[in-house]
């Protein structure tokens, strides 16, 4: 399939209860393609797994919704934590999705017109949405990542070490 460009606005919402960690939901909308549904995404905690698995695995629920999503999340008790704009390219290889994009900071809250890049670098993200337990796909992912060397070093890391 042809690579595509994208320009998305993402808002991250938190729902705080008495539990230690808040519930996080991501609401994303396309800024350059009209008439698309909003995208609501739930991401679970990343699981490192063992050495035999070459990618991080996390639970994921993707939902297409109507455009009143943010109002509805607020009604549910969520509040917006932060927002950003992502702009770049998306490539597909089989069920693998490779995104090369830059993240932009929003200077004035709510105004997605005035933005500035967080860094000059691009972020490269490789992901696959697969049914739970299909760890084999991580082999394909490692093979693909090998091809990108030495331009890009895509490695499995433990995000907890970065925090």
């Amino acid at each position: 399939m042809e690579p595509e460009t994208f320009l998305d606005h993402e808002m991250v919402f938190l729902l705080k209860g008495q539990q230690a960690s808040p519930f996080v939901l991501r609401a994303r909308r396309s800024m350059d393609k009209g008439g698309m549904p909003w995208h609501l995404r739930y991401l679970g905690q990343p699981e490192i797994g063992d050495k035999n698995r070459h990618a991080l695995v996390r639970n994921c629920v993707d939902i297409a919704t109507s455009d009143n999503l943010t109002d509805f999340l607020v009604e549910m008790g969520f509040r917006m934590d932060h927002e950003f704009v992502a702009k770049g390219h998306v490539f597909r290889k089989g069920i693998m999705k490779i995104m090369v994009y830059k993240i932009f900071r929003i200077l004035m809250p709510g105004n997605t017109e005035s933005i500035e890049p967080l860094s000059l670098s691009y972020l490269v993200e490789l992901n696959v949405v697969a049914p739970a337990g299909q760890d084999v796909v991580s082999d394909d992912m490692r093979n693909f990542a090998e091809q990108l060397k030495p331009l890009v070093h895509l490695e499995k890391i433990d995000p907890k070490r970065l925090m």
Partner: protein, 212 residues
């Protein structure tokens, strides 16, 4: 879709819910309406979990998650007097993830099932409303496909409903009042069902003659 009106029809005196439904459908068939399969609208109630109350300054609001066989891939989430979110079926899975915050009041699950009729450009759905094991009432949904502005065709809808519901034809649904001349959508129908279900739930205690 066109403009839709959802109404409750009281159970006829000395008759059961089932008999009243048969009375209605017979009238429709005499009018010339044709049977076109079945339909189902269901509604689940979620309580805001006690844990979030206080920390967010929220009162114990109820959230409703509904499905409509007319839109089999969609899921409708509503608050009373609040926004109605239209999402795909994965929203149900999200609600499972959210169970620490929103609890499903399983006993409150309510649904309306029945037959779908077509008459000219009208679509009529006569359903039995059930909550748990018992039939609680009768819902009638009338959709007029060609029109998209609720207030434009209200008189016409009314005349049609009177032709088979007689004096039980309803007044203007409250969602019509807020529409002005914006286009009527599936969410507006779901709001009407939510209001109807809430009304029927409250009638729970009142004994109605003939309910089985």
């Amino acid at each position: 879709m066109g403009v839709t009106c959802v109404a409750q029809v009281p159970v006829a005196e000395g008759k059961s819910v089932q008999q009243t439904v048969e009375l209605l459908t017979r009238k429709l068939e005499l009018l010339g309406a044709e049977k076109q399969g079945t339909f189902c609208v269901d509604c689940e109630t979620y309580h805001t979990a006690a844990s979030t109350i206080g920390s967010q300054g929220q009162t114990g609001k109820l959230m409703y998650v509904m499905h409509n066989s007319e839109y089999p891939l969609s899921c409708f989430a509503l608050f009373e007097n609040g926004p109605c979110l239209i999402a795909d079926a994965n929203f149900d899975i999200l609600m499972v993830k959210l169970k620490g915050f929103f609890q499903n009041a399983k006993a409150n699950k309510i649904e309306s099932r029945g037959t779908r009729y077509q008459y000219c450009d009208f679509l009529v759905k006569v359903g039995t409303v059930t909550m748990g094991p018992s039939a609680r009432g009768i819902s009638v949904e009338v959709e007029y496909g060609p029109c998209v502005i609720a207030n434009d065709c209200w008189n016409l809808l009314m005349e049609f409903m009177q032709s088979f519901m007689g004096s039980h034809a309803p007044g203007v649904p409250s969602v019509f009042g807020t529409k002005h001349d914006s286009v009527y959508g599936p969410a507006d129908t779901m709001v009407q069902y939510m209001e109807l279900f809430n009304k029927i739930r409250k009638q729970q205690q009142v004994p109605v003659a003939g309910i089985r």
